[in-house]
Amino acid sequence: MSDKVLMKGNEAIAEAAIQAGCRYFFGYPITPQTEVAAYMAKKMPKIGGVFLQAESEVSAINMVYGAAGAGARVMTSSSSPGISLKQEGISYIAGANLPCVIINIVRGGPGLGGIQPAQSDYFQATKGGGHGDYHLVVFAPASIQEMVDLTSNAFDVADKYRTPVMIIGDGMLGQMMEPVTFQSKETASLPEKPWATTGTKGKREHNIINSLYLNPEDLEKNILERQERYNTIKANEVRYEAVGVEDADYVLVAYGMTARIAKNAMATLRKQGIKVGLIRPITLWPFPTEIFEKTAKTAKAFLSVEMSMGQMVEDVRLAVNGACPVHFYGRTGGMVPTPDEIINEVKKIGGVL
């Protein structure tokens, strides 16, 4: 399938997963990601796959753990409160070095919060969320086409590094429709998983899927081995988009839908003669540190724009490392920053207002 089709973000994720060879989906209903599950429920039985509505997000993620250990390409999706419930399972999946893909269509929080778009789960996604020394690879698409491409990529990255991968979107991305193209993939080329529990057939030692190492030396060794893989991920998988940063005095930083709004503000400001650029991290973890180090040499200031009270801005500050000021502007609770608000902020920082 390489024709353009008009699709809702949530459905596009589901289709992209199926085309990437995912045949197992375990989930629990929650707004605003329900269309992912609904699409899977319709499609999976027709292609010999499994869609299972679990009794909770806790169960769903543990079914993912079982299926991933058994060697399958497997996915779950949820939204913020449900992702909180999945954290224990995600930590075990990371601890047992299992590949899987987790979708978080973020809504406002804390608590039950709201159902409108938000970016307030950045800390949870990038700084752990569950217990222990681990990371998720976190992709943050800004269009439905990118959602499709990154979903496909997410399964490959998960398998290659034996790590859970999260795709983080928001209700806007999940619900809106855009034309997309699917680059159909050879599912036959799925990697071998000699570590998976497929039954020994009496031909090999038993495989054990496990994250328990009572001897601290063994546990440290295991964590260091994983850290090595994280270092390779940092070297190979960082993705970002940078526009107009070479001559920029002011650099906007935003991811996902907020980046599209920031781009809009940037175009207006450029027309007014204010030199503004944009860095859009596509991988939130690993964070694209290098482009910040480079840009900080010539820029006067950075402005992180988020649908949160300031979460990614901490990583921006770490990356800029004091080379120039880093400002923050955010709306939260389901409120979306407008281009005008961003324009005002830049002018304030530049002393134009």
Binding site: Y24, F26, V50, L52, A54, E55, S56, V58, S59, A60, N62, M63, V64, Y65, G66, A67, A68, G69, A70, G71, A72, V74, E88, G89, Y92, A96, T197, T198, G199, T200, K201, G202, K203, H206, N207, I208, I209, N210, S211, L212
Partner: protein, 248 residues
């Protein structure tokens, strides 16, 4: 000389870590003997719990998963949905199955998930040092019920075999004990029946095994078995609670 007793092939040749007189070892042996007799070790995938039997993944020769506390039935569901031609079992304690993992247990049974649960009911949390379990008896003294379990404030002991048997998805549920030769033989027959039904694609099966924890009951191994007989069996009667062909 003829060998009349040996380690089942499905049991790994490693020392088990259980306390002297603990019946976890007996049940491990029964599960392994059944795997040998059905010749299924190469086609079986087991799920170990969090509890004293956490290291069960090191003890069975089949492929194994270690699950987080209480989630073994969900993990087994994930495995079984991927490999529906394999025999998938969980091995869980009472805290694991009937407290933190109650939802996972009930819904695996309600779905008629084609897996087998070996449920070790020893009326206590063994691994964490003897706290009250959901199956601790009224009046039972534990670390967290130092004055005896008072059902009015600490709840009543749960009969899981009876409760799960009310579900339409449950195919076969039996409660057995491992306190005597006769009962151990019956326990093995129940485990074998459960695995066999699973192999025939019949649906959810569970064998609840009344088991002893001499260490945390503060009794000698022999006294522990006597306590089990005198106190647990009257509250948790042995027998088949459900053995029905599933509808649909």
């Amino acid at each position: 000389m003829e060998k009349v007793f040996e380690r089942p092939k499905a049991l790994c040749n490693v020392p088990l870590h259980y306390c002297p007189g603990c019946t976890h070892g007996i049940v491990h042996r029964l599960v392994a003997e059944v795997m040998d007799e059905l010749d299924i070790t190469g086609d079986t995938i087991g799920v170990a719990p969090v509890g004293c039997s956490v290291f069960a993944y090191n003890y069975f020769e089949c492929d194994m998963h270690e699950a987080s506390h209480g989630r073994a039935p969900a993990v087994a569901t994930g495995i079984k949905r991927v490999h529906n031609d394999k025999i998938v079992f969980t091995y869980q304690g009472d805290g694991d199955l009937a407290a933190i993992g109650t939802a996972e247990t009930v819904h695996a049974a309600a779905r008629g998930e084609n897996i087998t649960i070996i449920f070790i009911n020893n009326a206590i949390y063994g691994m964490t040092g003897g706290q009250m379990a959901p199956t601790s008896l009224a009046g039972q003294i534990t670390q967290t019920t130092p004055y005896g379990r008072n059902p009015k404030t600490q709840g009543y002991p749960i009969r899981m075999a009876e409760m799960l048997s009310t579900l339409d998805g449950a195919r076969y549920i039996e409660r057995v004990a491992v306190d005597s030769i006769k009962n151990i033989k019956a326990a093995k027959a129940a485990i074998k029946k459960a695995f066999t039904l699973q192999m025939q694609g019949e649906g959810f099966t569970m064998v609840e095994v009344l088991s002893s924890c001499p260490t945390n009951w503060g009794l000698s191994p022999v006294e522990a078995l006597e306590w089990l007989r005198a106190n647990m069996i009257p509250h948790y009667p042995l027998g088949v609670y459900c053995d029905k062909k599933l509808e649909g």
